[in-house]
Symmetry: C2
Subunit: 245 residues, 2 copies
């Protein structure tokens, strides 16, 4: 660990930032896994040769960023993609009437290995011979087929996922458990579109119906793009919620 009294430094990086990155790397490489407890502030301070206050600042920053989770009197833990975290951070569709937010059931329609088009290759930064997994499923909310999802995953990171007969509702938890991939950040792009033939049959709606299309690119802890997802929602009784701060 570089001392704080380093050179006048055009490349100055605060100590707590270095600690932060070091801990992040340890999590990425799997030294500390989701759900596991980290050493205490004093132990980490001794381990890294910095003061407890500096470790604290790093841990708090990582907590702010949802990488860690702290409980007073207990310890500091690596965040897990639990269902409630998922609902809170990565699932923004809500019922118009503020009903009990049921966990949305997802029915798998098809899973296959495909040859990506130019756009997908760019998104995932793939070589020309790499394959992509396509998952086609439909979510029901309040017992109504409401959202059609097309999910694309680079085969490279997800091994034989496309051979599974069943997949859980919460894919992000599944990615984390089975492939050591933690979805950390995502970008959603929303548009209004008209339902195509497939939308009409899957969502059981008439021609000319407007749908809310959400295109998501999701990135892992290390910044790699690991998922591309197209959701098309019948927003008659739904909306997509955004909180601006």
């Amino acid at each position: 660990m570089t001392t704080s009294t380093s050179q006048p430094s055009p490349t100055f990086k605060p100590l707590y930032k270095q600690v932060q990155e070091l801990i992040t790397e340890r999590i990425i490489e799997g030294s500390w896994k989701p759900g596991e407890i980290l050493p205490s502030e004093f132990q980490l301070a001794d381990l890294l040769g910095v003061s407890q206050g500096t470790v604290r600042k790093a841990l708090n920053a990582l907590t702010e960023d949802n990488v860690l989770f702290r409980r007073q009197g207990v310890g500091t833990f690596v965040s897990e993609h639990t269902l409630q975290k998922m609902m809170f951070h990565f699932f923004h569709f809500k019922s118009d009437n503020g009903d009990i937010p049921e966990l949305p059931y997802a029915q798998l329609l098809e899973t296959q290995l495909i040859t990506p088009d130019e756009h997908l290759r760019t998104v995932f930064d793939l070589t020309s011979d790499e394959k992509v997994i396509e998952i086609h499923r439909v979510r029901s909310i309040n017992n109504t087929a409401s959202i059609r999802e097309l999910i694309y995953l680079p085969h490279r990171y997800f091994a034989d996922l496309h051979k599974e007969e069943k997949l859980p509702h919460s894919l992000y938890h599944y990615y984390q458990q089975h492939f050591n991939i933690t979805v950390h950040k995502a970008t959603d792009r929303l548009k209004a579109v008209l339902a195509d033939d497939q939308d009409q049959s899957v969502l059981n709606i008439a021609a000319g119906q407007p749908l809310l299309e959400v295109i998501r690119t999701a990135r892992a802890l290390d910044g790699r793009t690991v998922e591309y997802r197209i959701s098309r929602a019948n927003s008659e009784d739904l909306h997509y919620l955004v909180e601006l701060n």
Copy 2:
């Protein structure tokens, strides 16, 4: 200021939190106005009888929350609704081709004083005889009429705004300058809808076109709801961008 060694306290509130709230109140009541500089950390510490570190924690929290703005070597300032902050925090429509994000021109169509319906009365928590200002305007992006906006403001907070012939593009800056109302947080609810007759004529589109509808409720620093806004966007060449962290 309550001392840190207070009673075992079921109503325990950290010192820095108290400092934070005190500073927020000062800003709300107008002692420190947008753009103005605050006393330095040490001056505030002396003023409030706490340590500099505690003041720092409060100021950093408020900076995180976009209430304040700090510049090393210069000082701490109350945030202003500048155009760039607006674009960054409260305007999420982007061109599909990542062109230079032009500042969207807004053309005023009509401004009038109306009697609110039940829903608007609830949103603003109005008494039965209070009026609401309605602003109808259209935003052009890349020289194309793209977004139709209906903006509702409680007359109580915005005096004679509805008598203005012209309004600036950035309403939030205008609210702040003329009515001491700082839009701090907002909730957007998005749906896909079909264009109605008015949409068709204002946005110059055909019947049956899908539109991205964004319904926003905006709240001031003190938590009051101060604006209700319906935006209907032709999302053919546009999208609404959301970053999830």
